[in-house]
Subunit: 160 residues, 2 copies
């Protein structure tokens, strides 16, 4: 029973690592050159602070997710792992929300503020950002599951 649980957790952690890593790579490689009337401009993730934050948070979470794979299950540091899981889940949630909010303005615009949507001009860029956000969302959901599972088992000594 304990072994099955261990394998499940390991699989979830591997999935989370894959999700955060691909979110960082897909967002990090997103760019497109476009011509708008006579003006040529390049849309890049690094122009938008929220997207930069998203890449940095996912890189950090990937490094943590990689290191924690080698954490022995008998170690006494598991309380630290749960606390770090909380911190990294927060970091990922926060970066995903910030990137989503800006991407929403990019897609729909904001008529009150006079901000026009830009997805019509840089469609490929928009799709790539959307893919990165989807991968980031999967990462957040898996970390959330791992966290609630830790709380469910670890907070009840009878279940461990």
């Amino acid at each position: 029973m304990a072994k099955t649980k261990r394998i499940c957790t390991l699989l979830l952690r591997l999935l989370a690592l894959a999700a955060t890593l691909s979110a960082a790579i897909v967002m990090g490689t997103s760019h497109e050159e476009a011509n708008f009337f006579a003006i040529s401009f390049e849309a890049k993730y690094s122009d938008t602070p929220a997207f930069k934050y998203f890449v940095i948070a996912n890189v950090f979470a990937s490094v943590y997710g990689f290191l924690v794979l080698f954490h022995p299950p008998e170690s006494l540091l598991w309380r630290l792992v749960v606390a770090l899981d909380v911190v990294f889940t927060m970091l990922l949630t926060s970066s995903l929300s910030a990137a989503l909010a800006v991407a929403y303005v990019g897609k729909k615009g904001d008529s009150q503020a006079g901000w026009l949507p830009i997805c019509g001009q840089v469609e490929k860029y928009c799709h790539q950002v959307g893919g990165a956000l989807a991968a980031g969302f999967i990462g957040v959901v898996i970390y959330m599951m791992l966290l609630l599972y830790s709380i469910h088992t670890a907070l009840n000594p009878l279940l461990v």
Copy 2:
């Protein structure tokens, strides 16, 4: 010792309730009419989906924060409280990040996307939104402290 802890937790929860409630009220009452050349427009929180989400999340967190004050310390539901703390901390983090990201664009603009900053036109509105975000930030920090404290004590049966 247990009583001091109980009082500390209660005080933190009261502070968190005050922070989320004031964040919701300050953001919810933010609006300003401005004239830009010949055009008159009204800046309101409800025009921006991220700010609406911020208000809703803080209202939900306030209701939860109010109800949990009456939760008896001997109750067996404390594991549910920790899990709900995780969920609400996530919700607050996510709404704060989304609102911050949009507020940042409102303050600084985004030259690549052609979005102009609007804080020059609606200064009072911007300050009020800034105040709401500060209160929301305090709420997130307190919930984070409560969560890490729960993990610190509750995950170690010897410390309870």
